[in-house]
């Protein structure tokens, strides 16, 4: 049986190499990782953007630079134009002896309050040297948002694996090679397995590549693989079901689109929603995979937790499989 599975995989690989697909499979995770590295440096800055008048008060400019991102402009008209831009930037401008804060009017409340607070401190001449606070750090260097991006990319990559399988199968269908398989000694199961391998390699290679390149080198890769493996099985299952049930590319593409929904919803639920909303997302395997990846990336997960999260993903997958097995079998006939 393994020989046949291997033969199907090798054939897939050959076809895919001819189609440059293997190149994409190799390149996509790398691009994900590079994009994350390019975008994240500014991510953890939670302060405001301020616009100030150039040369008006150098002391003020250097004071605010300690607490906010500062842009300087030559005159008030230029500043006005900048404040009216589509992002959130407020100006602190002189008028007589005093300073006033110019806003566009649509900034989030927090941003205006931050600017008010900074101007208050400047007026009161509050200096860092006089601080009565002391800061201790736990030595973490990776901002949570970077972790979020890496985690979401890992999920996207496993969905990509599923999409590959689905499209692979639909292609076989459109080319009418599936019925031909039924005439060969290859069993249905071998065919399923053979078709799945390519979609299995991508998430495993991809998640390791992304984690490594984005600088999470000290995570426990065995723990990561555990979660990735579980979520990959899910994508395989979905990819296969989509592939079997859809007769053409249009339907496959449309139903894959539906897949992004539970993925995005799970990430949003964990990151934004409060505790009382969490239970509404327990059904989503992406929810558990995300949680699992999160503790692996933060390096504070115990094996017990990892096993629990990947176990839940597996159980959800098995339920879906049991539910849909007859359909899959029928679809292959």
């Amino acid at each position: 049986m393994f020989k046949k599975v291997w033969a199907i995989f090798m054939r897939d690989l050959k076809v895919n190499i001819r189609d440059f697909l293997s190149l994409y499979i190799f390149v996509v995770p790398l691009l994900f990782a590079i994009a994350i590295n390019i975008f994240t440096p500014g991510i953890n800055d939670t302060t405001v953007n301020l616009a100030l008048l150039e040369g008006e008060n150098p002391k003020q400019i250097s004071y605010f630079k300690d607490f906010a991102k500062v842009e300087v402009f030559k005159d008030i008209d230029e500043i006005k134009k900048r404040v009216e831009g589509r992002d959130n930037l407020v100006a602190i401008l002189p008028e007589g002896e005093k300073y006033y804060i110019m806003t566009q009017g649509n900034e989030p409340e927090g941003i205006v309050e931050y600017a008010k607070l900074l101007n208050t401190f400047f007026q009161l001449d509050v200096q860092i040297e006089d601080s009565n606070a002391e800061i201790f750090e736990f030595g973490r260097t990776v901002p949570p948002l970077k972790k979020l991006l890496v985690n979401t990319s890992i999920l996207f990559i496993s969905v990509l694996g599923g999409m590959l399988i689905a499209l692979n199968i639909v292609e076989e269908k459109v080319d009418r090679t599936i019925s031909a398989i039924n005439l060969t000694p290859t069993s249905r199961r071998s065919f399923i397995l053979g078709k799945s391998i390519i979609g299995l390699i991508l998430p495993i290679y991809g998640s390791i590549a992304i984690t490594w390149i984005t600088g999470f080198k000290s995570v426990n890769f065995f723990q990561l693989l555990m979660i990735v493996f579980a979520s990959t099985l899910l994508s395989l299952l979905i990819g296969f079901i989509e592939g079997i049930n859809n007769e053409d590319f249009m339907n496959a593409a449309g139903s894959i689109k539906l897949l992004f929904l539970p993925l995005a919803a799970s990430v949003v639920a964990i990151e934004i929603l409060s505790d009382k909303w969490q239970k509404f997302f327990y059904w989503s395997p992406f929810y558990w995979a995300y949680k699992g990846n999160d503790i692996v990336l933060s390096q504070n997960g115990s094996w017990q937790q990892i096993l629990m999260y990947s176990g839940i993903v597996l159980v959800i997958c098995s339920i879906v499989y049991i539910f849909l097995a007859p359909k899959i079998r029928k679809g292959l006939e």
Binding site: D45, T120, F121, A133, F136, F138, R140, D248, L261
Partner: protein, 369 residues
């Protein structure tokens, strides 16, 4: 006229396939999520763990100050689980914070470490002034750390007085703020329409290629342009219908629907032309898929930034989904910026036309027998 017939024929064909209904189902699902799952506004409060290492009277005064800021003025006793240990604490919820008062300093440090939140210990120095110890994760920016360092330098009352005297002058006051639920709509519209349109139109073309429809087309009187336009038309129709399904029930009469129509049309046209062009470089969907997936992922990045106002790198502003999100946001507001919407609509239309013409040229060479 021929174009109209081709379009009607395509619509009829599409209405027989599953795809059309998947789109409608997806729109309905998004609508249900918006109405029943997403709260009007998300509650997001920062958690802080605090230990008060202070003499009784000072401690009392300090707690009273926090209690005054509490939303319902009541203290909640909560148990926090941390590494199999249950830590008792008193919770105060203010407008933007959840403050946990904890009896043991060690627990504060442990919780700040494990839960990755801010921890603080407040004590008296040898001159009997308040002194603060902050426990941070390490990835906070220096600017934030500087602010934390100075925040207690001056008494709260002095800060309050000067703070309240700050003169804030908005350039305009008639901006409306969208609720969190409404704020999700631009993201849904961009994703459902343009982003996926890229992928769907490519699938559409390859399906026809594989089934031999395209060769059959070559012997009809229709031109390649009409064929491509009729495909784009079906896609635009589904996008417009599904977008209206989402917008109308949530926003009611507030948005300018004519503008929405124009914007959906131009952005959808741009996305499908881009999809057509990309697809023209490949022989089958498997080949095209990688490039399309990458394009889609790149275009999702502004979607992430959209939800994080403080993160707005210049690089994402050149991605087409950035103006799309901003455009949809303006449209669903009652007092949206009409000139902005029309300007970017025009830009999308022009780029869309250019892409479409290039795609058309390429298909003329490859699609005909």
């Amino acid at each position: 006229m021929k174009l109209w017939y081709s379009f009607i024929k395509e619509v009829k064909l599409a209405s027989r396939g599953f795809y059309f209904y998947i789109e409608l189902f997806m729109a309905l699902l998004l609508l249900l999520i918006l109405i029943f799952v997403v709260p009007e506004n998300f509650e997001s409060r920062q958690s802080e763990y605090i230990h008060l290492d202070l003499p009784k009277t000072v401690k009392k005064a300090y707690i009273k100050e926090i209690k005054d800021k509490d939303l319902d003025g009541k203290v909640e006793k909560v148990e926090i689980e941390n590494d199999d240990k249950v830590i008792n604490s008193r919770l105060y919820k203010t407008e933007d914070k959840e403050i946990y008062i904890i009896d043991d300093k060690k627990d504060v440090i442990k919780l700040a470490d494990k839960k990755q939140k801010i921890g603080a210990v407040i004590k008296l120095d040898n001159k009997n002034n308040l002194d603060y110890e902050y426990y941070l994760q390490g990835y906070e920016s220096n600017r934030l750390k500087n602010l934390i360092l100075i925040i207690h330098n001056v008494g709260t009352d002095t800060i309050k007085t000067v703070f309240n005297k700050q003169d804030v002058r908005p350039l305009s006051t008639d901006y409306e703020v969208l609720t969190d639920r409404e704020n999700l709509i631009p993201s849904f519209l961009t994703f459902n329409g343009s982003l996926m349109g890229l992928f769907i139109i490519a699938a559409y073309i390859f399906l026809d290629k594989q089934e031999g429809v395209i060769k059959a087309y070559a012997v009809t009187a229709s031109t390649v342009r009409e064929y491509l336009l009729s495909k784009v038309g079906v896609l635009l129709l589904t996008t417009i219908v599904s977008s209206f399904i989402i917008v109308v029930p949530v926003m009611g009469l507030k948005p300018n629907y004519l503008l929405l129509l124009v914007f959906l049309f131009t952005t959808g046209f741009f996305a499908s032309s881009l999809g057509l062009l990309v697809a023209s470089f490949y022989k089958n969907i498997m080949q095209a898929f990688g490039t399309i997936y990458l394009l889609m992922i790149a275009m999702i990045i502004p979607n992430i930034a959209y939800f994080i106002p403080s993160w707005n790198p210049t690089l994402i502003k050149i991605l087409p989904t950035y103006p799309m999100l901003e455009g949809f946001k303006e449209i669903i507001k009652e007092s949206g910026d009409v000139s902005y919407i029309l300007t970017i609509s025009l830009v999308f239309l022009i780029i869309g036309l250019i892409l479409f013409e290039i795609a058309n040229k390429r298909y003329k060479k490859t699609l005909t027998v």
